[in-house]
Amino acid sequence: MSRWVMVADLNRCVGCQTCTAACKHTNATAPGVQWRKVLDLEVGEYPDVSRVFVPVGCQHCAEPPCMHVCPTTATRQREDGVVTIDYDLCIGCGYCIVACPYQARFKVTDPTQAYRQKRMPQEWKNEQPERLGVAQKCTFCSDRIDHGLVNGLTPGIDPEATPACVNACIADALVFGDIEDTSSNVSQLLAENQYFRMHEELETEPGFYYLWDSKSDKNEWDSGREA
């Protein structure tokens, strides 16, 4: 069975927010809702400081706290690891939102629009009434995955079967694939690089891996930067 995961190469990411914007387009999210976004973090103090861009969003955890707390079973986990929300089941209690330690979930109660004075044509076209008052989050573009698989495509390789954020990434920092397949793009990256997952201590088993250094050239940060 496949297990779809996302790999973000922090060496590559430039924080441009192209993934953020692409996700907003493909998933027609409301103003202010960002299923995918990139954080701009600083580490250290002047002058010994570095700046890190970190793509975040639903981590499609193997042990998703959002799913366990959901009283309606609207949030479920597919066999391929994708955590889904059934908008028709969800009652919008918000419990999953507070259960998610990745701030990945949103709830929009009333219709919103980018400009106060008028709804634009594409906003009418992209209307998502089923999403009002319920929880929403990144789907790993599961509709694209499913459509691709039906048509013999490989998610993470063929754009039509790949999440929009990955397709859009101009630094090739986001990579999507099947971690169960040892020869897949993501498996290879994880084999070649050192990685962490966010908040691993919370035992959520996230499906989102952050590469921070290559294995072949292991750096020892605690020895400090070169003089």
Partner: protein, 907 residues
Amino acid sequence: MTAQGSTKVPTYCYQCVAGPDLLTVRVVDGVATEVEPNFKAADVVPSAGKVCVKAFGLIQKTYNPNRVLAPMKRTNPRKGRDQDPQFVPISWDEALDTIAAKIKQVTAEGGRDASGYPRIAASFGGGGTPTYYMGTLPALLASIGPIDFGFGSGQGVKCYHSEHLYGELWHRAFTVAPDTPQCDYILSFGYNVEASGGVCGVKRHAEARARRGKRVQIEPHLSVTGACSSEWIPIRPKTDAAFLFALIHVLVHEEHSGLDLPFLKHKTNSPYLLAPHGYYLRDQTTHKPLIWDANTQSAVPFDTPNTDPVLQGQFTLDGLEIGADDEQWSHQGVSSQPVFQQLLDHMKSYTPEWAAEICDVEHKTIRRLAQEFLQHARVGETVVIEGRELPYRPVAVVLGKTVNNGWGGFDCCWARTFLACLVGALEVPGGTLGTTVRLNRPAVDRNASVRPHPDGFMDYPMNPTKKADWVSPPDVRNANRTLIPLVANSPWSQALGPTHLAWMQQQKGPENWPKPTPPGIWFVYRTNPAISLWDTKQITEVMAKFPFTVCFAYTRDETNHMADLLLPDCTDLESLQLIRVGGTKFIEQFWETKGFALRQPVVEAQGDARDLTWIATELAHRSGVLKEYNEAINRGAAGVPLKQNGHDFSLDVHREHSVEEIWDAACRAASAEVTEGKKTYGLEYFKENGWLLSPFPRLKWYLYAALEDQGLRFELPYQERLMRTGQELGRRLHEQKISWWDEQLEEYEPLPMWRDYPRMWEKALEKNFGVDINDYPFWATTARSMQYLWGGNVGIQMIHEVARNIKGHGGVIVNTKRATELGITDGDQIEIRSPLNVTYGKVVTRQGIRPDTVLMIGQFDHWATPLAKDFHVPSLNSLVPMLLDLTDSTGSGADLTRVQISKVGTP
């Protein structure tokens, strides 16, 4: 187009100079819903068919309810920021007839006014990118007489100005880039490629990082590019030249044996012998510069075969020296030394220890970087590119804005280019490349612009400085050809003049200069100088005095607030245009293909917006210049000559042609060019496929080959020609009793000398505003934002939303510790006061900025643009004065001033 169903329409985005990028737009039932990469282009363009975040703003840009969607005329004759223009909608007929009548009236009076300046002016923004949206407007402008393009909105002050001019002189490099696909080590002085390098730049640098290439970012704040670099060195603002000089010092005085001596001897002017007045010592008969040949132990002309030129030493010999205005000195038995010897002496005192004090960077760091640069240069190695063996030197030095423009820009550009020469890394694989020409010709192929100069270098179309043909009085208001010999005389040259001179003299003209006059008609397209130049208050006041201003208007903004007419033009996804793509273009756009791409109406035009080609054609017809207009199109004013490669698609010059007819002809001519006459494709083909490309040889990325073929050298390090030019220019100016350009004339020096540039700013502010600079303890700087740069997209909600994920878009960045010392915390409202003006904004505290520097990203401070006027984000532009003292010899300035900050409120 209103067809039901879902389609994907190919088009391009060229909102920034680092384009174009190909994309598709999903259209559902006639409504554009989604921007996507053009996956079909994945293998044919270096961006892999992807677009950056700005392109995703295009759909909101199209449907933005704040758009101006009908022609409007001003009904309040009084102009000013405090005046309501009282625009009222009018018909296109009325708008076009009004403009045509005005054009007729103005041209009937003669194209130039009493001061000799064109009566019609036009301003375009965005580093030339409006050209890729303005359809056939250039053909209209070409047919209505001389145009003053000198009222800039950032050119010279917001661009890589010195790089453009000196870059073109030295290696046909309007913009300079590392050969990133093969470069291993980059010293980046404020080069902000991750913000401004576009998809191609970002992608290539990400690849370079992935293969563990090292880039060191030297910059006062930890920019996005600094973030992505291997190391960040927080240098004191405007001291980069000292750092670069110290790098040269280390290489020439401490690491001499590692240098690429064959390159220096045979590919530069390092061995040229110098005469007593500082000009080359020349052969008496041929007038060729002399070198000292170690093989024959004699002075021989530089191009003598089989020589071993000597770089160091002192020689006594005879020769001819030619100075300014062809003044000649015949020398007998004079002492002469090669350029390189002179350079060694010149760089002697510029030690890392000296620079450390100036730059606030440890001398050990400077020395280490010089050594790393040399170690990575692989001097002696070669690589075969398309069958030709070339030197392989995977190191580069790149410069960013405020480093490569304004005072000090010359020093930095010189040092950068010469550092490449020292290790033989100029215009070779892995090294420092120029990527486009805009001043030299032909613009489509920088290799073809390589033509020999008698002194052994590339020729250069310098503006004349000899008495007989010096351009005086100036032919445009910024006097570009008069004051700036280096700016040449291409269609781009005007925009690169001292742009702020045009604005400044409208307030107060300089002495012994033609009387300043406003243009009779001012066209404005895709630019907003009222917020995007300096001293925005003064600029706004000046444009309020222009008698007749026509603005192509997307939304209301600060510049079109002063307009007499607003014309709603079709935006990016509504209009039709074919453009030339590929080859080598701005920033890091060097491709392995070249050809043409089409931008097409993805959706129907909103409201009464019209395609610019339609507007231009109508205006040509109504102004009575239809024939001239069509002839201009036939010549190639729409991007491609319509007659070529055995095909003639020329338009009938006597009748009006529809937008589609014009671009169909362009498509057919373009395809004939791409296929070398074998095939022609019409508009329908391009609409379906988006582009037509043919291979572009990689060898053409490297100018080294073209120079080698012609036996030419790079004109470095010695600037004999510039020195002569400066001498002559000085004489011409002084003959007219003009002394206000004297300081600029001093920059025409053969080897640049460090001046205390930070102090230069301090002194200019003290002198012009009577302040004590110690009351303004911070340097205020700016940086580009990928989300906004060149995009004209401040009014787009989604861009605003996603940009806020990147720190600094909401306010002014201040060092955390320094802010704490001042009792300021993140989110506090502060006043930022320069000697010129004051602005307000929120504090964003960050560790990644020098304690003596504050940073304002982008250009905001809007007061009329819908949405943006509610941002309340400060802009450096409101604070920086336009001063002649801070204008260098190329006519450029730098985004820099001193400020004080104080808290005025809490979050």
